[in-house]
């Protein structure tokens, strides 16, 4: 997918097009994964932690999407967020030496397949959420339920489900940023 296409998808997403948003995030994930792996490799860290960085970056893209200026290309914005999360992850592991991250940040075009899922940090963070947020996030992400189905299943209003989902995702992002 070209950099021009992702701009259009993000614009559509901001106007409420969930299908476009899903396609955008799905197409960004392999590119972020590739640069997370290379970044970890350059820092001499295990590439299997890359998926944590991918997930943390996607959460940040989601929660900070209002900081993208639609008059500018999306690619540099995504790269800056991914780079920031990669550096944070490397620092959290106590790695202090200089990492020439720019070398690995040249392109979003490279692809990398998602590995077989290991229990990552996201699962641990999810378990530490308040019960209600946890059930909502689980129902929607793992079971693929819609907002309406989740509301019926958990006997909540749809509004309450939306609030719990948003707060849950924001809390997950904060937990990623905290020291392990």
């Amino acid at each position: 997918m070209s950099e021009h296409d992702i701009d259009g998808l993000m614009r559509a997403a901001i106007n409420g097009d969930a299908a476009a948003y899903n396609r955008l995030l799905t197409s960004l994930a392999p590119a972020i994964r590739a640069l997370a792996r290379r970044g970890l490799g350059v820092a001499g860290l295990a590439a299997e932690d890359a998926e944590d960085i991918v997930q943390e970056t996607l959460l940040a893209i989601h929660l900070k999407r209002h900081t993208w200026d639609p008059t500018m290309p999306l690619g540099p914005w995504v790269r800056a967020i991914a780079r920031n999360k990669l550096i944070d992850a490397i620092r959290r592991r106590g790695y202090r030496a200089y990492v020439p991250i720019d070398d690995v940040m040249e392109t979003l075009a490279a692809d990398a397949e998602e590995p077989t899922p290991l229990p990552g940090r996201l699962d641990a963070h999810l378990q530490s959420l308040p019960e209600r947020q946890q059930s909502v996030v689980r129902a929607i992400s793992l079971d693929g339920a819609s907002i309406r189905e989740t509301a019926a299943r958990l006997k909540m209003s749809e509004g309450a489900v939306r609030v719990a989902l948003h707060r849950g995702l924001a809390a997950l992002s904060v937990k990623f940023g905290a020291k392990p």
């Binding site: 409420g16 969930a18 899903n22 996607l58 989601h62 900070k64 780079r83 998602e114 907002i147 948003h166």
Partner: protein, 212 residues
């Protein structure tokens, strides 16, 4: 959890975007400025001869330089909270401020006899200036940091520094209405020192509060 599962949750959370960073920044800062003006009115207040000196070029220069600094640092901070946004133009604009200040200083040195340089630079109100500007800047700095938390600064320390520059500059413009010292020599020394205190606090606050 697989990344695709996470993406499903993110897609379901696609709510319309709220107010822009600039709008939030403006709203919270308006509040900060009002608080600073109230503090100013309750403590120092404008100088008694305000109406008489308001056309004086030295008096006007104090507002030109402080408001120019406030404007340029606000423009830079808006860029710093957007990941990957180019900042070169805004940094260049900010670099004009010390040049304008230096021009004011040179003009003053030319206009004044040598014997008056030092007394004008030291002034009569230096310590009040040093205490007042950080005092008036504090509500604005807090407001700015709160607003900027909504953004995504990839350099939190630097963003805090520029937010400190902005808050210090606005506070200095408010303080200028009270200060009896109008010489650019005084401004270059004491205003800069006072704003530097706010900048240091802003840098620390940024590192602590602007990570995301």
């Amino acid at each position: 959890m697989k990344t695709d599962n996470l993406i499903r949750a993110l897609t379901s959370d696609l709510a319309p975007a709220g107010p822009s960073i600039e709008q939030r920044f403006a709203a919270v800062l308006l509040l900060g400025v009002v608080v600073a003006l109230i503090l100013f009115a309750l403590t120092l207040g404008p100088r008694p001869d305000f109406m008489a000196v308001k056309g004086d070029p030295r008096f006007i220069f104090k507002f030109v330089i402080t408001l120019l600094l406030a404007l340029c640092s606000a423009m830079l901070v808006w860029r710093l909270v957007r990941p990957g946004a180019p900042t070169r133009l805004q940094v260049a604009a900010l670099a004009i401020v010390p040049i304008v200040l230096a021009a004011g200083v040179v003009a003053e040195l030319v206009a004044l006899p040598h014997a008056l340089w030092e007394p004008k630079m030291i002034g009569v109100n230096g310590l009040v200036c040093l205490a007042s500007i950080p005092f008036f800047a504090l509500p604005m700095l807090i407001a700015a940091i709160v607003a900027l938390r909504h953004g995504a600064p990839t350099r939190p320390g630097l963003t805090g520094v520029v937010a400190g520059l902005f808050s210090g500059a606005v506070a200095a413009a408010i303080y200028a209405a009270h200060c009896p010292d109008d010489s650019p020599l005084f401004v270059a020394l004491w205003y800069s020192l006072a704003i530097a205190i706010v900048v240091a606090v802003g840098g620390i606050a940024g590192r602590l509060a602007l990570r995301w």
